[in-house]
């Protein structure tokens, strides 16, 4: 890459960071109450919330990691990346219930909803908060690592300097404006991702001539080698399943689709919507924007397969470089938008999980432990924790590579295993008891940790099914079974107003 290109990419990306900061700065005047600062409760319309939800869901892994997986193992992962219908499904399942809970009582966090549903059961709140906190830190660290290393590699800076510049600004505006700035900046970053996606998709078609040409190349290229790096091609590689065990494809369909309704970045946005009757529009905006970003990841993988198969670039030594190989081949305009998209994806997801983890420490855990803190003090405490967690995460993610990789296992599935019993079962079924949900959470926490240890020691799960599927199933099963033998927070013990939400 030329120096001129590097300067332009840096300026372009810097522009995006500055605009994000200005949005965050402007938003701080709106974050006047705890409900607004922590939850943006009932504040935004469907367009803003839709783009924000999509941007927080589509992490840097979606833009960088997924094309690499598709390049190396074929189409099975498209079930995950093309899961755009999941937003409408999530809102149909839980949208009105979550939004309605914000009318029942003060709702500024997921912990507040848990309190309302389970009569302030502190153990449910504590356990759910711990699991979500672990998942949040895992997401946060991986976004910081991805964004910092990307720009350190580009500019020849130390990753620590790149990390503190990019994520230092993010920490500042997030601390100032809380979730109000979080939602607005994520919507802006989502918009950048969509623009980048449209440009990359057009570039793919003009470069390859379409998917038929890629299939022809895959069918005829055979074995392409460069030194010790070998890439095998055949037409079957581009069928629906690729070369992964097909049970993995099954998982990659089920977990992202049903898991979307259990992701904090989707759940918290449900109560950020001003008018619940706009939920279908929210689904439309989130799905359409997700379609563009999801398809971008697919065309990047197909583009690189085309280039390698035709011998225009050598086979990739590291599949995670697929998006850079594609952008480098296309030239400066693609590089500009690819880097901006990756930065936008990492910033939007990082800011979401930074506020979430700080809110758990400053608000949810103290209240679960019976420590009463005034709303203004909660906001001040959260600002401090955003700085502390943010700075520690930068240092941790850039100095403990192995730990980040280990923590990275706690992601989507871990969050889903904690939220599914509490919110999905709890708000759809009035007989879900507090004891049942608590048991499900205990099982989730223990099995997440045990599974991680087994996974790291090389244990192979039956059918190559990812371990989090077993954990999710176990936590749901235990929640439902224990609910049949217990009574807490059901029947007369269930608040009349919450019963109305379940029936709504």
């Amino acid at each position: 890459m030329t120096n001129g290109a590097k300067i332009l990419i840096t300026l372009f990306s810097l522009g995006m960071i500055v605009i994000s900061f200005l949005i965050g700065w402007w938003a701080k005047k709106k974050a006047t109450t705890a409900e607004l600062y922590f939850g943006s409760t009932g504040l935004f319309g469907p367009f803003i919330v839709g783009f924000s939800s999509m941007a927080a869901v589509a992490s840097a892994f979606a833009i960088v990691g997924i094309p690499g997986i598709l390049y190396s193992s074929g189409n099975a992962m498209t079930y995950w990346m093309l899961s755009s219908a999941a937003f409408a499904m999530a809102y149909i399942i839980l949208g009105k219930k979550i939004r309605a809970m914000a009318e029942v009582g003060t709702v500024a966090s997921l912990g507040d909803i848990s309190d309302l549903r389970y009569n302030n059961n502190k153990w449910i709140k504590i356990l759910m908060s711990i699991i979500i906190f672990i998942g949040s830190i895992a997401y946060l660290a991986s976004q910081i690592k991805a964004g910092s290393e990307l720009f350190s590699h580009l500019l020849g800076l130390s990753p620590m300097i790149a990390g503190f510049v990019i994520f230092g600004i993010l920490i500042l505006y997030t601390a100032l404006s809380g979730e109000v700035g979080g939602v607005l900046t994520q919507a802006f970053q989502g918009f950048v991702m969509v623009i980048a996606g449209i440009i990359i998709i057009i570039a793919f078609f003009s470069m390859t001539g379409g998917f038929g040409e890629v299939l022809k190349v895959a069918a005829t290229a055979g074995t392409v080698a460069s030194g010790e790096i070998v890439k095998e091609f055949n037409a079957g590689f581009l069928d629906a399943w690729g070369i992964m065990p097909r049970s993995v494809a099954m998982t990659w369909m089920l977990i992202p689709i049903l898991g979307t309704v259990g992701q904090p970045q989707v759940l918290t946005r449900m109560y950020a919507l001003k008018d619940p009757k706009d939920m279908p529009k929210l689904g439309l905006y989130a799905s359409l924007s997700h379609m563009v970003v999801g398809f971008m990841a697919v065309v990047v993988a197909y583009g690189v397969l085309f280039l390698v198969g035709k011998g225009l670039i050598p086979p990739l030594a590291n599949p995670d470089t697929a998006i850079f190989a594609f952008a480098d081949y296309l030239g400066l305009y693609a590089q500009l938008f690819v880097y901006a998209a990756i930065l936008a994806a990492s910033m939007s997801t990082a800011s979401m999980f930074l506020t979430l983890s700080a809110n758990i420490i400053a608000r949810d855990l103290p209240s679960a432990l019976g420590i009463k803190i005034s709303p203004q003090k909660q906001i001040n405490a959260s600002r401090i924790f955003i700085f502390v967690i943010g700075i520690l995460s930068i240092i941790f993610s850039l100095t403990s590579g192995n730990m980040v990789a280990i923590l990275g296992s706690f992601g989507w599935g871990t969050l889903m295993s904690a939220t599914f019993p509490v919110f999905v079962i709890g708000l759809l079924w009035d007989r879900a008891t507090s004891e049942g949900v608590l048991s499900g959470l205990v099982v989730s926490l223990i099995l997440n940790i045990v599974s991680l240890i087994l996974d790291r020691s090389g244990f192979k799960w039956p059918g190559s099914v990812p371990w989090y599927v077993n954990v999710i199933t176990a936590s749901i099963l235990v929640t439902v079974v224990v609910s049949f033998f217990t009574k807490g927070a059901t029947g007369e013990d269930l608040d009349e107003k919450v019963k109305m939400v379940i029936d709504l």
Partner: protein, 151 residues
């Protein structure tokens, strides 16, 4: 469609489905697992879309049922065309895609998204009407007044 009184049965069914789908994954029965996954999602959407224990038939007939048919067909057709051609070049393509993958793009991704999202927008009142929401808020207000609460 009256779901009142059937909610517990539907929750039990969905829990059994989670277990069976996981076992399908363990034993390599991915298509059975995926089709049962569609049933699992359908149950959740039926519960989520019902109002006072009743799911409007229209909402079930569109968008829920066509979505379920599209996805079930998608998985079965993907499997069929994958097994038909193996690693060989297929003798036809759909919009340039391998026919097995074309079903992922056309029915799982675009078809599924458009059916569910457009149906949700078109029939939003069958999911939550203005009247439902106003009634809910009024009832809340009455309860709050009785209890002497602000919210």
């Amino acid at each position: 469609m009256k779901l009142k009184g059937k909610t517990t049965s539907m929750v039990i069914l969905s829990t059994v489905l989670w277990v069976v789908i996981t076992l399908c994954g363990w034993m390599g029965h991915h298509i059975v697992g995926m089709v049962l996954g569609v049933v699992l999602m359908l149950i959740h959407m039926m519960l989520g879309a019902s109002r006072n224990g009743e799911l409007d038939k229209k909402f079930f007939i569109y968008p829920l049922l066509p979505w379920a048919v599209l996805w079930t067909a998608s998985f079965i057709l993907s499997e069929y065309h994958s097994n038909l051609y193996g690693t060989a070049m297929p003798d036809f393509t759909i919009l340039g895609f391998h026919p097995s993958f074309a079903w992922t793009v056309l029915t799982y991704w675009i078809g599924g998204m458009l059916t569910l999202t457009a149906g949700f927008v078109l029939y939003k009142d069958l999911w939550l009407s203005e009247e439902d929401w106003d009634n809910f808020r009024n009832s809340l207000q009455e309860i709050n007044q009785k209890r002497g609460l602000a919210k």
